[in-house]
């Protein structure tokens, strides 16, 4: 147990005039499991001063959400505070009886969650829920309650609040529901808002608007905000101070610029290196290994099994480091050898795990045709038709065309509902297009009996987003990985096994893993298994539908690097479906941006990222939080109004015109064609010309 006897005096020295509004000291939380109590928080301390914005950052299982719930006294039945205190206004909240605690919740400290739609009662109108919050907060029901509700929704910048108040949560978009949740949370006029992953479930353009709103509200209402997130980009944009968590402990703390530009803890350094850089000027580096299980925590420093700085020193294995102040700064770090960070900086990149930049241009032979030609495909879904109800139709994919060359990675980028996954399903032959053709290596896959010839099926493989549900939990890894060989009747059992071992090696797993079942692996390892399964038949094309979205940042970097390695060595083409532009930037040769079923812009990745022509691409790029405070706060911000229109009733003319700041009359009526602009194609009547404003990474200080 690491205690922090000196945290208070130092905290006071940092900002002497401002006592903390909320003070968490040496907080320990345990959860009961079948194997006995498990420590989830092991001595977490943090302060929140008036008007301060602090980010509590960590990957899954780090204990960041548990910290929030413990502060609120909302731990589930099997969890309890086993030590430490949470001090607010002179009271230790952990000692408060439930009845007193309820007066703190909502009125003093408010909490909003990741899933806004799930956080609202599905059976009541949003207006009545806001009204309830107002009545709970003020303790009485005023006659103008209805006006207050509309006013509150209006302050959250919800358009048409009168109408929205009468609607149910399922009738509102996720971003709109999050605004309602914020209205509800703030009804009691709290001094502290804890926001637990408030934008993680939202699309990038929507999320940018929510973070913007939170910033404005915090400022106007004199609130302190504790932002809980795994997204370093959001942190860089929003926070003043950062608390970095790992395995139930705070491992580094400091002002946001110090954390991003002078990180001391090897985990912080590794995490920052794992974040893909949307400017494309820095290559992803990975931390090895994965997050430890809380039931079997490493001894000594919990990070030591993944640490490069440790170098087999016994201290790290035997002794837990304290969160010690670095002299001459406001930064604290829990590392025995934090003074070595400077030397590592001087020595350049910490780790040479990054692959040498592979040649970005695919080896195209102009004489032959592309590997994949997607020619003008549309997919129309007919809605459920009742006995007496005529169903409408949704054009999920609208006349989409693209080619994929051999060895090339094409990224298809879009927000939810854009039709990107449907397009992937068409290329995989899992969904027949309503019109158009898919030609694979000269073979038309969409005419005839609409079934893939078996030879083609082998050459096109898939990797999906959720590695847990895409692996049969009852099968051994050996059977999972060799299944494609069995299906295509390739090799003898011995040969198959040997191939499987090679594939596991290629994806960074060991031969002995073949005899295990998926449940024994972490998310990142499962995704490696899924990739090994795709690779074993030596496909020419792998369709990857959000393959790293479900993974933690540090693991995501490992998998991205693995993709790069595979690309370099196997000459395989990738169709990479993603919503995260930074990830795409890392891996794609060419990019196609899709909005409401239509490709609005496509071209070489460098071109699209540096000189985007379409306003939507620009907005999307600007919406991505950049894990670099100076660069992030300097960049041009475009915050789109409203949310993506329903695909049931797409706007006329250019589909983007309802949210576009450049739209003129012609955009309402005439759909723009995809026309060449330099090396790229864009569908816009008024394309942008210049490069986007992206300051150089690190502002020169890294």
């Amino acid at each position: 147990m690491s205690t922090l006897p000196d945290s208070l005096p130092d905290g006071a020295r940092e900002l002497p005039s401002m006592p903390a509004r909320l003070q968490v000291e040496d907080l320990h939380v345990e959860f009961s499991t079948r194997r006995g109590p498990v420590p989830v928080l092991s001595g977490v301390s943090l302060d929140l001063r008036p008007r301060e914005r602090v980010a509590l950052v960590g990957e899954s299982g780090s204990g960041k959400s548990v910290t929030a719930l413990a502060i609120m006294g909302l731990l589930s039945r099997n969890g309890w505070v086993s030590g430490g205190s949470v001090t607010y206004a002179g009271h230790d909240l952990t000692l408060l009886p439930e009845k007193e605690y309820r007066k703190v919740r909502g009125r003093e400290i408010a909490l909003i969650f990741q899933d806004p739609t799930g956080s609202l009662d599905p059976l009541r109108t949003v207006g009545s829920q806001v009204a309830e919050a107002i009545v709970t907060a003020t303790g009485h029901r005023k006659s103008d309650l209805r006006d207050q509700v509309v006013q509150a929704l209006h302050q959250m910048q919800i358009p048409d609040p009168e109408r929205r108040a009468g609607q149910y949560p399922h009738e509102l978009s996720g971003g709109m529901n999050q605004r309602v949740m914020i209205a509800i949370a703030l009804a009691g006029g709290p001094g502290i808002l804890i926001a637990d992953e408030p934008t993680t479930a939202l699309d990038a353009t929507t999320a940018a608007g929510i973070m913007d709103l939170l910033g404005t509200l915090a400022h106007d209402r004199d609130m302190s905000v504790l932002l809980i997130t795994h997204d370093l980009g959001v942190v860089a944009d929003f926070a003043e101070r950062v608390e970095l968590m790992y395995a139930g402990r705070i491992v580094e703390r400091g002002p946001v610029n110090d954390i991003f530009y002078r990180p001391r803890h090897p985990y912080t350094i590794g995490l920052l290196g794992s974040v893909p850089d949307v400017s494309g000027q820095r290559v992803v580096k990975a931390i090895r290994g994965s997050i430890p299980s809380l039931t079997a925590l490493p001894t000594g420093c919990v990070f030591h099994p993944r640490c490069d700085r440790m170098q087999e020193r016994h201290t790290c294995r035997e002794q837990a480091p304290d969160l010690a102040l670095i002299s001459g700064s406001d930064q604290r770090v829990a590392c025995h050898f934090s003074d070595e960070a400077d030397r590592e900086h001087a020595a350049g990149p910490r780790q040479e795990l990054a692959e040498p930049e592979t040649s970005r241009s695919a080896d195209t032979d102009p004489a032959t045709h592309p590997l994949v030609e997607v020619d003008d495909i549309s997919v129309v879904f007919h809605l459920k038709q009742g006995l007496f109800r005529s169903g409408g139709q949704v054009t999920a994919v609208d006349r989409v065309s693209f080619d994929i060359e051999r060895g090339e990675t094409l990224a298809l980028v879009g927000e939810s509902g854009s039709g990107k996954s449907t397009t992937a399903r068409v290329v995989l032959g899992l969904q027949a297009p309503t019109s158009g053709r898919v030609v694979f290596d000269g073979v038309d896959l969409t005419t005839g009996d609409k079934r893939f010839p078996k030879g083609v099926r082998r050459r096109v493989q898939a990797v999906f987003q959720d590695p847990t549900s895409s692996l049969d939990p009852r099968m051994l890894v050996l059977d999972i990985v060799t299944e494609p060989l069995v299906v295509h009747d390739l090799g003898s059992p011995a040969e198959r096994r040997q191939r499987a071992e090679e594939m596991l090696d290629l994806v960074g797993l060991h031969p002995e893993h073949l005899e295990r079942k998926p449940a024994e692996f972490s998310g990142g390892q499962r995704q490696r298994i899924a990739i090994a399964r795709a690779l074993i038949v030596e496909p020419d094309l792998i369709v990857c539908d959000e393959p790293v979205t479900a993974l933690d940042v540090s693991v995501q970097a490992q998998v991205l690097l693995m993709f790069e390695r595979i690309k370099a060595h196997r000459n395989v083409s990738l169709l990479f479906i993603a919503h995260d532009l930074a990830v795409v930037r890392q891996i794609a040769d060419r990019v196609a941006v899709i909005y409401l079923g239509e490709i609005v812009e496509s071209g070489p990745a460098d071109e699209v990222f540096t000189r985007p022509r379409h306003p939507y691409t620009r907005a999307l790029l600007s919406a991505i939080p950049v894990a670099d405070p100076r660069r992030g706060r300097d960049r041009d911000r475009i915050i789109l109004e409203g949310s993506t229109p329903s695909a049931l009733a797409p706007p006329s003319g250019c589909r983007f015109h309802t949210r576009c700041w450049k739209a003129e009359d012609i955009c309402h009526t005439d759909p723009p064609a995809l026309a060449p602009h330099g090396p790229a194609l864009a569908a816009c009547h008024f394309p942008e010309e210049g490069p986007v404003h992206m300051a150089t990474p690190g502002g020169g200080s890294r």
Binding site: M72, R102, G118, S119, D121, H170, M181
Partner: protein, 305 residues
């Protein structure tokens, strides 16, 4: 909501038409009314006369049209056994059946929900464990056996209530107790699970995070969801009480409802009367289920999507 009402009503009518058709054709397939009406040794001339009188010499589709016309005039045919219009016999029995079904439903909803909610609010407590065991047992006990046991104990041994009969509130107790046992058990289990599931949802945590007490969250938010679930179950239970299972219980308690009538009519091979009973209970069940669906939709608008 309005379009849901319209489509749900149309669906109800469609089901009713299908029910009428099925009843008609089944009754024509399984039995020969002429043979049942006449003595065994009737002459062919008599047979032809009765066949003609009953309209059975016409083609089947035409007979169906006649049958439909009869329905609209309130004519379901004449009971072979009682020599009376089937409709009036059925109508005479309907009140007793409805009293039994409604009382059973009311009792089971109130008690079942109470048991389920009480257990769910303190999962793992003594109350919860006893309730879970009791509801599991109640679902497993056959009701004709339970009926006989209850009569033996409370009517014969203790003499607290009459053994059987119809007409007073006290005579209602044993049949309802018998019939309600299974719905109570089922509702208790389902509502317990539903409460636990709802209380674990994010919106409940969110409501707690803004200072609401668990009890007021239950009252203001969760209860509505539980009622929606209970309504669905109650719909099944109504069917269960009204059709099949009242047959045994009505016989045990000599309750003059449709179930008892159905038993007698079947034993006497009175096809006309049996068809009338089947049709009537079928239509009633369809109507009740539609109403419950509409109530469900009024509570949970997502249903109307």
């Amino acid at each position: 909501m309005r379009s849901y009402l319209v489509s749900r009503s149309l669906r109800m009518v469609a089901v009713m038409v299908a029910l009428i058709a099925a009843t008609f054709f089944l009754s024509r397939i399984v039995a020969d009314p002429v043979a049942l009406t006449l003595p065994m040794d009737a002459s062919p001339a008599d047979r032809a006369r009765v066949t003609h009188e009953l309209g059975l010499d016409k083609p089947l589709p035409e007979q169906f049209v006649d049958y439909l016309g009869g329905l609209f005039r309130g004519d379901l045919g004449v009971s072979v056994w009682q020599r009376q219009p089937a409709l009036s016999i059925v109508l005479e029995r309907i009140p007793a059946s409805i009293v039994l079904a409604v009382a059973t439903l009311a009792v089971s909803v109130v008690i079942g929900l109470a048991i389920g909610v009480a257990g769910a609010l303190r999962p793992g407590s003594l109350v919860d464990r006893v309730a879970t065991l009791a509801s599991a047992t109640s679902v497993a006990v056959p009701d004709f056996w339970l009926g006989i046991m209850l009569v033996t104990l409370f009517a014969v041994q203790l003499g607290w209530v009459p053994t059987s009969g119809y007409g007073s509130l006290i005579q209602l107790i044993l049949p309802v107790a018998t019939l309600a046992m299974r719905p109570i058990g089922r509702l208790a289990r389902v509502s317990r699970e539903a409460v636990l599931e709802e209380m674990g949802k994010d919106y409940v945590t969110a409501a707690r995070a803004r200072g609401l007490s668990v009890m007021s969250i239950f009252r203001k938010h969760v209860f509505k969801a539980i009622v929606a679930v209970a309504i669905t179950i109650a719909g099944y239970d109504f069917v269960y009480v009204f059709t099949g299972h009242a047959v045994g219980v009505e016989t045990v308690f000599n309750w003059p409802g449709l179930g008892q009538l159905a038993v007698e009519a079947t034993l006497r091979q009175d096809v006309i009367l049996v068809s009338a009973i089947v049709l009537f209970s079928g239509l009633l069940v369809t109507l009740v289920n539609t109403l419950l669906d509409v109530v469900h939709a009024a509570i949970d608008r997502r249903v109307t999507l």
